[in-house]
């Protein structure tokens, strides 16, 4: 019994790692679920049980974290940054950023400069927090076969 739980956790972690690696690509939830060797519906359900948020929400916050990094550390335009981190439209990026951070990307950029911390520490520590209870029903829906922003071509995940 316990071995099964450990094994599933390890595979879900591998899928989460895949999202951390390939956040910039158009990701399909089916492809990420395949990393964990589970069906799409089972993946969304068990990921949420194990990590406290849906895969979609996890990836969204990884993308927002990476955009915050680029806003702080580079002079790239907000449109470029939006596509750099895997969003497919500026509208979705701006709305998601505002929802999660509470201000627009440009006002965030004005208020923040480069951070003195290694990249791995930033990825580890700076992903915006979320309470599991705040995930909306739409996000936990299991019918969706994409992460919302993803285009038709899903990135292959090794």
């Amino acid at each position: 019994m316990s071995r099964e739980v450990e094994d599933l956790n390890r595979r879900l972690l591998r899928a989460r790692d895949a999202m951390d690696r390939a956040y910039a690509e158009p990701l399909d939830v089916r492809a990420v679920a395949a990393v964990a060797y589970v069906s799409e519906a089972h993946f969304i359900r068990s990921f949420r049980a194990v990590f406290g948020e849906t895969p979609h929400r996890y990836l969204q916050r990884r993308r927002v974290e990476r955009s915050m990094f680029l806003l702080r550390e580079t002079d790239r335009s907000i449109t470029d940054i939006c596509f750099d981190v895997g969003f497919m439209s500026l509208g979705t990026f701006s709305r998601t950023f505002r929802e999660i951070i509470g201000e627009t990307p440009s006002s965030y950029r004005e208020g923040h400069g480069p951070m003195v911390a290694p990249n791995c520490v930033q990825m580890w520590a700076m992903r915006p927090r979320v309470a599991a209870a705040t995930a909306t029903p739409a996000e936990s829906a299991t019918q969706s076969s994409s992460f919302g922003e993803a285009g038709a071509a899903a990135a292959p995940l090794a």
Partner: protein, 142 residues
């Protein structure tokens, strides 16, 4: 006044499998390995740095009751417990060596930063490992 870090512990799911990974794949050496009753004290260390040891600890008796051990195992497997950071003098060469030894669980291939080049991987159980090749003072100011 404390003078030196001597031993730090990480949790693994299986000591023998940990030994195979940390020594045969990652390239550490065995520090201590002796068994007292049913308990095996097993440490590994970086070759050339004999005074800092990593204790490979396995949840279960005699340290933990079964329910506690089960909780720990689930946390290990979802990557919520331990992590290690190492330095190397050539991270790209090490990346290739690890691949040649069959390591596949990389979380990040080597990437250059202003402070050096690093990569990330996981041990077989879910623990995070980072490896950094620090930029030398000369290269950093060049």
């Amino acid at each position: 006044m404390l003078t030196r870090l001597n031993v730090a512990s990480i949790y693994v799911l299986d000591k023998q499998e940990a030994l195979d990974f940390y020594v045969d794949k990652l390239g550490l050496e065995v520090g201590s390995d002796f068994t007292q009753g049913s308990y095996r004290w097993l440490t590994v260390r970086v070759p050339g740095q004999p005074d800092v040891e990593i204790n490979l600890e396995q949840p279960g008796p005699p340290l933990h009751d079964e329910a506690t051990a089960e909780q720990l195992r689930e946390l290990i497997a979802k990557g919520a417990l331990s992590g290690l950071v190492f330095h190397t003098d050539d991270v790209r060469a090490l990346y290739e060596t690890l691949q040649a030894r069959g390591v596949t669980d990389f979380t990040q291939e080597p990437i250059d930063h202003f402070y050096g080049t690093d990569m990330g991987l996981r041990d077989p159980f879910g623990n995070a490992i980072r490896v950094l090749e620090r930029k030398t003072a000369a290269a950093a100011t060049a």
